[in-house]
Symmetry: C2
Subunit: 268 residues, 2 copies
Amino acid sequence: MMTAEHPFDRAIALHSETGAERTGHTSPDYWNAISPFGGTTAATMLQAMLEHPDRLGEPISLTVNFAGAIKPGNFRVQARPARTGRSTQHWLAQLHQGDDPAPAITATAVFALRRDTWSDTESAMPSHAGPEGLERYAPPMRLPFLERYDIRYVDSHPFAGGASSQTQCWIADVPPRPLDAAGIVAHCDAYIPRIFVRRGRPTPIATVTLTVNFHADAASLAERPCTLAFAQARANAFRGGFHDQEGRLWAEDGRLLATTHQMVWFKE
Amino acid sequence: MMTAEHPFDRAIALHSETGAERTGHTSPDYWNAISPFGGTTAATMLQAMLEHPDRLGEPISLTVNFAGAIKPGNFRVQARPARTGRSTQHWLAQLHQGDDPAPAITATAVFALRRDTWSDTESAMPSHAGPEGLERYAPPMRLPFLERYDIRYVDSHPFAGGASSQTQCWIADVPPRPLDAAGIVAHCDAYIPRIFVRRGRPTPIATVTLTVNFHADAASLAERPCTLAFAQARANAFRGGFHDQEGRLWAEDGRLLATTHQMVWFKE
């Protein structure tokens, strides 16, 4: 390699001797308050599928369920195709730690061979200046993973309060890294929790499930590499200890990279 | 029972002798073109979790992956909690037919005990008259499951074409049935495929993955039963043989019942 490995690639790296099970290690670079940043965990689940020798095509959709807290240290990821068709492949994956028989993470995914078809994007990237001239967001808590993202809000400070949870920002890896499917997944969990936005301050939260739907294929990402993305998110509802989040992620040049949604446990 | 069983309840009914595996049968009432309506299949996966003796709480999120075509006849559903915490529970489920070792369906879900918290709904139901006075949608293909929904579009015929895939409609079970979690799941797959809307005609499609995020709890649905819902959906992008769909479902009285997302394979 000509360049030093990016901390994100180290964070999602897996090693395998058998092919059936891969082992990884939590990353201090992407540590959150009491467990790893969910975005790297979700990207690691995808990585186990991407590296699998039986993989067909590329990710269309990934759902990651955060069942238990991951502790610092090693973990094991099992990923296997549940069913493979001519052009689509469905995946199951789990992450375990130590001798705990219950998985900390479960995941499913759909992979497919992309085809040339009629296409259109209905969700155009909002037109905003930047990110040069915009201030880099300084989070109220110094969490390691937040140092790994350069986030610049375009309209208002996310803790400004108000009746809408919508935020819009430019986002880039620190240091810069061209987005691939794994990077897109992590970006999709880097949105500030919507309950923080509505309450104007951090509160205890935990994502319980995250889905990423992919709209840009690997060929497009390779042809026109993207190190800067525009991210928009909002919630539909906060109720009974859970709220949702719907997000969109565009490349700097306006390509829609992914749409994402999650359900978040909150205490408030 | 005082009343005859609703065809939807027959369609998602499961029988069990051991508790570990439940058996069901495809429903002629909810048959689609070449396989069962995905909404009843998704609801059946949820039903297996709802009926499980170890269930904790109620559904927060459900993801169902359509891996293979279901044939007419019996099927087996295995659902098990992958991890149970104090207030949340994560589920894995699969559906098999015959001696096929690969599942036709995989699913994950998060269940939880709802708590009384700060709450707000950002996505208010659009204000539209009806459904009285609006024409019931007559689909171009006579598919059995479409007879089971009374759908009335509020703004334009879904095949009117145009640059937006958004549709808005009133929707009710035929005959009327109070919505519960299973009914909500099926409603979330009853939206007309977005590619039909954009191309102005039916084309070959298949939902590959569907997620439902639940915003109304069982107590609310029991206290104020709802047999009429308002449904809104749109796509963000159509590309490389797949498009997404984002939907919202409100009760007639304005309660947000669910938000839903899917990825759809299409040929065009």
